[in-house]
Symmetry: D3
Subunit: 301 residues, 6 copies
Amino acid sequence: MNPAFLPSPAELSPLEVDRVVELALAEDLAAGDVTTRTVVPPDALARGVFAAREPMVLAGLSVAARVFARVDPRVTFSPRVADGARLAKGDVVAVIEGPAHGVLTGERSALNLLQRMCGVATLTRRFVDALGPSPRARITDTRKTNPGLRALDRYAVRAGGGHNHRNDLSSAVLIKDNHVAVCGGVRAAVERARRAAPHTMRIECEVQSLDELDEALAAGVDVLMLDNFDDAQTVEGVRRIRARAHQPVVEVSGGITLERVAALAAMGVDVLSVGALTHGARAVDIGLDLEVTGSWASTPG
Amino acid sequence: MNPAFLPSPAELSPLEVDRVVELALAEDLAAGDVTTRTVVPPDALARGVFAAREPMVLAGLSVAARVFARVDPRVTFSPRVADGARLAKGDVVAVIEGPAHGVLTGERSALNLLQRMCGVATLTRRFVDALGPSPRARITDTRKTNPGLRALDRYAVRAGGGHNHRNDLSSAVLIKDNHVAVCGGVRAAVERARRAAPHTMRIECEVQSLDELDEALAAGVDVLMLDNFDDAQTVEGVRRIRARAHQPVVEVSGGITLERVAALAAMGVDVLSVGALTHGARAVDIGLDLEVTGSWASTPG
Amino acid sequence: MNPAFLPSPAELSPLEVDRVVELALAEDLAAGDVTTRTVVPPDALARGVFAAREPMVLAGLSVAARVFARVDPRVTFSPRVADGARLAKGDVVAVIEGPAHGVLTGERSALNLLQRMCGVATLTRRFVDALGPSPRARITDTRKTNPGLRALDRYAVRAGGGHNHRNDLSSAVLIKDNHVAVCGGVRAAVERARRAAPHTMRIECEVQSLDELDEALAAGVDVLMLDNFDDAQTVEGVRRIRARAHQPVVEVSGGITLERVAALAAMGVDVLSVGALTHGARAVDIGLDLEVTGSWASTPG
Amino acid sequence: MNPAFLPSPAELSPLEVDRVVELALAEDLAAGDVTTRTVVPPDALARGVFAAREPMVLAGLSVAARVFARVDPRVTFSPRVADGARLAKGDVVAVIEGPAHGVLTGERSALNLLQRMCGVATLTRRFVDALGPSPRARITDTRKTNPGLRALDRYAVRAGGGHNHRNDLSSAVLIKDNHVAVCGGVRAAVERARRAAPHTMRIECEVQSLDELDEALAAGVDVLMLDNFDDAQTVEGVRRIRARAHQPVVEVSGGITLERVAALAAMGVDVLSVGALTHGARAVDIGLDLEVTGSWASTPG
Amino acid sequence: MNPAFLPSPAELSPLEVDRVVELALAEDLAAGDVTTRTVVPPDALARGVFAAREPMVLAGLSVAARVFARVDPRVTFSPRVADGARLAKGDVVAVIEGPAHGVLTGERSALNLLQRMCGVATLTRRFVDALGPSPRARITDTRKTNPGLRALDRYAVRAGGGHNHRNDLSSAVLIKDNHVAVCGGVRAAVERARRAAPHTMRIECEVQSLDELDEALAAGVDVLMLDNFDDAQTVEGVRRIRARAHQPVVEVSGGITLERVAALAAMGVDVLSVGALTHGARAVDIGLDLEVTGSWASTPG
Amino acid sequence: MNPAFLPSPAELSPLEVDRVVELALAEDLAAGDVTTRTVVPPDALARGVFAAREPMVLAGLSVAARVFARVDPRVTFSPRVADGARLAKGDVVAVIEGPAHGVLTGERSALNLLQRMCGVATLTRRFVDALGPSPRARITDTRKTNPGLRALDRYAVRAGGGHNHRNDLSSAVLIKDNHVAVCGGVRAAVERARRAAPHTMRIECEVQSLDELDEALAAGVDVLMLDNFDDAQTVEGVRRIRARAHQPVVEVSGGITLERVAALAAMGVDVLSVGALTHGARAVDIGLDLEVTGSWASTPG
């Protein structure tokens, strides 16, 4: 595959891609493809085109490529565009060519992964576009990802122009309502976190009211998550935060629809975290049409 | 957990449940929960209630239970209803009790899985209900499941009153358009499958037109999938199929919306396969509210 | 390896082959090959011939090839015949060439797998040949396969001219005596299965007597398994089945020896399922003789 | 399970047992047991008896027990005899009781493993018995085990009264013909091994002739493997070996049948290694008959 | 095990503990413990005491406990102190009791893990103690951990009174010299990170000189790592940093010995990251002495 | 990589290397390298040199090479010396070249493994050198290796000129004090082992006193381990052993420092087993300095 289409290992861990592809194929290929085995001549060669059947933002080419490489290394998968591209209905995503058995056997696993990732990227793009041009605010994902597919979900969010929130429970401090309830108050929680959490992490705290917001500010929190605040509360919250010297980051969360995005950004919010990017995305429609191009018997070598 | 709430191993493989739970936790818990570790006293005990925040059909209790058992066996997870139940907003799903660290650490992984499975069950239930009471036709899933979660997706479909289509490429013969394209015709494909496929399988063939339908019938196919037929084509297709002595099963697929379901069933169709059950389901909203109930220091034993 | 010798991924899942090879090598190579390490110069190059030491049907070339590729990619394994071929004593199976360490280290793992698969294929071939030329009936395997090696066992059965029965518990309905005992009768069991099993599956029921056979026929079963019927019972069973309009498939099982095969087929049976194909097969004898061909020190590049 | 029936972790690694059971169930249970799920009421309770259907030596009880524990921990598996016992046709092996779904779902996986292990133990016992009472010589296995099942195969050999040869390539030095061929002679090979192999290992060398035997003796080998020697060669070989001061161990290998065993032992051989113990064993016949004993609905708790 | 001795899942992931224990045992137990199997009666019961053979800080009790639970659940492992405790030579760590086979088989794996973790905790404690009472500065680990054991290494650092640095490449931004070299300067690197890194992370930058330090401060970095600065440079660096309004965190790294720790802290440094905590720790000495206490034959039940 | 630098699969199992590399990368790369991703242009190409920052013996080149191959196959890693080489400060170990993302992402994992292995090899070399030229005695490792890294530790010991002791509990008989305590005496233990252990193994017994030594000699043990004997005891022990006809191997263990090595060898000891080779080794210092060499945009192909 042309390296220009391949995300770097820093972007998307090849171990994660391989793990997911292995899992998807083990689940679908199981003990072999009985239809292809019984119906299709083993030496048939095929050529096909993956095409967008609706407008979308692309994400996951290297994952689809890896599916076919794992199924049969003789199949070539040649992308025609790169992750992050905006496609119109009918645009060609990639061309595939090789032994028909391999192409047919990998088709559904590749599409399940690709359609899911494009779905996430496409929905993210809509949220990011709703911010308007050159936005100061960020759209981020949450941990409401598909179990087992988090790395791919989060990559797709970035391909759609979004940012990532914390990756997992060990990579950031986020004090939520249940932590506060169990620990006995916002101030105590923030101070404990400050004392013991790694110095590489900011301390973020979710607040449910302006009173909790004041308490968190007083405790010197780095990031405030305004949870399910209405517009008036959000405006007031941002005002109080901006009045502080150390300028904490303002995140809003809960009930963020495409319609509210621009208004929230205009209120001075820095981060809009949207669980729906991943748990509300639907698979977009990508098709594959094949034609026979010959058989090995008729090809040299 | 009360055995009445537990699906049997024949219903849902415990190996699959464990595998998915392991994966979800590895991904989210990673190197530990830095927030809980730094903020919550290690000997705090908590009690909480999982409650439906919108109407839903329940699926996945044993998966959520397994998350907490894996995180900390001292946490008890007690369901109040069983998979398949219809819940109203506010209904209690389960009560959880034990060390606060374990409860907080497992919360998101349990909810991600449970909300996804309930989402699939709820959407399936809507399709099944649209068939009307005591329907003769079935709603089934497809292979458009979440990679790595197929067993759970398919269990959720059944919890919602749906049926399963083939599980994977090795468990049924389904000749699709690309097989026909590569193999050179419906008749040849069906006959080859008949000769070589296991005798435990019916031979299913997707047809794109009434001509292909006739060809498949002539070849003695067992199940016909009418792909993207409009209503008139479907009526005519069913008429031609019902005229045959061996009574093949009639499946329709493609573009099946809630609105069309009853009409399609009335046309005499046996099976409506709906990819959206799994690839179009969104996570439903389930909440967990915790309170502290003491600490180990204050409990005997 | 010449692609003509390689089964397609639809025939034999590359994930299964890799999994088995990984397992076999982990078990045998363990922490390294102490004999080869201490005895053989690390730069020695060797060439060897795998040859049949008795007549056999070949199966498993790609598995043996994969062993050596995993041990040392510089070893070349070149088949001289293809899976399914009938070999006489002395026939060459494959030629191997490369670093002597890699060849010696992989030898036993490759042979263990290849000899087992050839053993299954060879025994299957004997059963299939016993049916006579152009048989209407099939010889099939059962689930009595080697734990962990089912995909390979079943592939070997097909290489020997046999067919596969169901792959696993989730890929077909087969109501056995213990199901009937627990469920309370053949009729109830068949009807329950019909209502709930996927529409892609035929319903098969094992019967122990002609009375059970009548009950299963009345319930509209698709496949009948006559379990341990003697010849007279089999003849009468087939007669009753053939009298039905919907023509169920007739399978016989239990005590099927090479001697009875032709007679059973002549009685009109469709399927003879033979557990011995896999649980009674013995490894056939294949030898490898090596010679030194030089050392890297003496080769350019 | 009564601990008296359980092999210690030193005898049979619980990690190996769990790994094999996991593999066998993943392969057979796959996405669930569609027959049991659709046919058997989920709350049915059953009781059954595993009984020998032919004479055999028992091996593998803890493996069968582990299958059911993994499928459903509510199933109890109670052995009536211990590994190593000689059973007559009809003897009870174990009693099983619990939810019918769990029993039916685990049955085949448990039997496949148990029947294989008993097959190996039974065949080994025949070879050991052929040595006569209180034999000085040993019957041992080889590395010709079932890929992935070596630990179980070797345990079964011991349950049948046999001994183990080396476990894998890293646990002993055994210089075979191909090592000699590549390394340039018996003496060089033995001396190199002596210099570099761990001091915990004896040095064993396979010899193809009396000349090679003399060369190996001169090189001070610890164990001699007489490969495919006829009786006269064996007698002469043993004579030459016994004439040495350091008394190497004498092993014979190749073509060792039940008929030759006593004679070979009488010639003064120490070890008879028999590949057939594992690669030639067939599964013995063990049956399970079930009856319904009630349902959970009718049981308290 | 008494829950007071058990770290919570937020502290130490049970998945990581199980994974490591599984790995250690697979590696050491392999195909069984041939010495114990051949030498020790299978029904012997033993009791033993783990005792410190030198002064140490304890870490890893739950890991050692898990080794024995995995080997034989009938073995009880009862800690007498908790992780983090300072032990003198001769202090009892834990008492073990149960079947001798299980105790002997797990001993080395348990000790390898426990001695390593105590070694890390003990060395960390020495560094922390060198800071003096109630220190404002922190001692932290680095990513120079034992491959595969990072979660355990980092837990041990905390048990010794240290703090953790970032866990892995995805959990924090740390711009090092090679990043600066490839990216073309400190300022560009910091600004790019600020734009794209998750808002939960501080931006840390390693600087090699006071000029780079100024550049990083100007770019608004959150954490400065002074790499291999001598004392004079460190004093001047801290002075410049403290002059900034936003008060970045000051970390020193490279060549930090026990002797320099107090002085560096006195210079106003916040964090001292010490690779030696993990890559320079040696296993401390813990002994196990066993005695026989009977046999199962002589115990009821 | 030049094959001359690659250990053969008999030396170092490629499965072990892959397993460890996979583990190390999964742990460190996790969900991607956030610093490299945000800071470094994705098309930057870099070149760097791995150089020794202190004198050392090299071990682990193929492991480091495998890290980069796994991260990004476009990165080339070219060793300049071979495992076993003695390096001075400043000597070049290897040159690396390719996409900067891959190089930066794999750097720490490769160094952690390489520095550890070189640390073991270097320490071993010091012990071996202390024996003097052409020593008759061996320095060996023990089972006190890093959990999960045993194969690499033991390879590194050999690269440093040492020998391996037994690999694991199943590959040799070593009767230790706890076995003797549980079994009731040295003589009984040795005789039981002789009867039941594989004939490929020598029987080794640890002795704590000259009386136990006499008992072990009388029982005909093959290898004696003198545990924590002082010099006088060692001299007397060797004298008694050399007086026996069958010449057992003499191993000393416990408290073996660099200072005592030559003296112990001079006393006639055969084997000095030193746990510190692996549990006391520290990572040596190897550096990597990178420079940018261009970008893909500017390279053809």
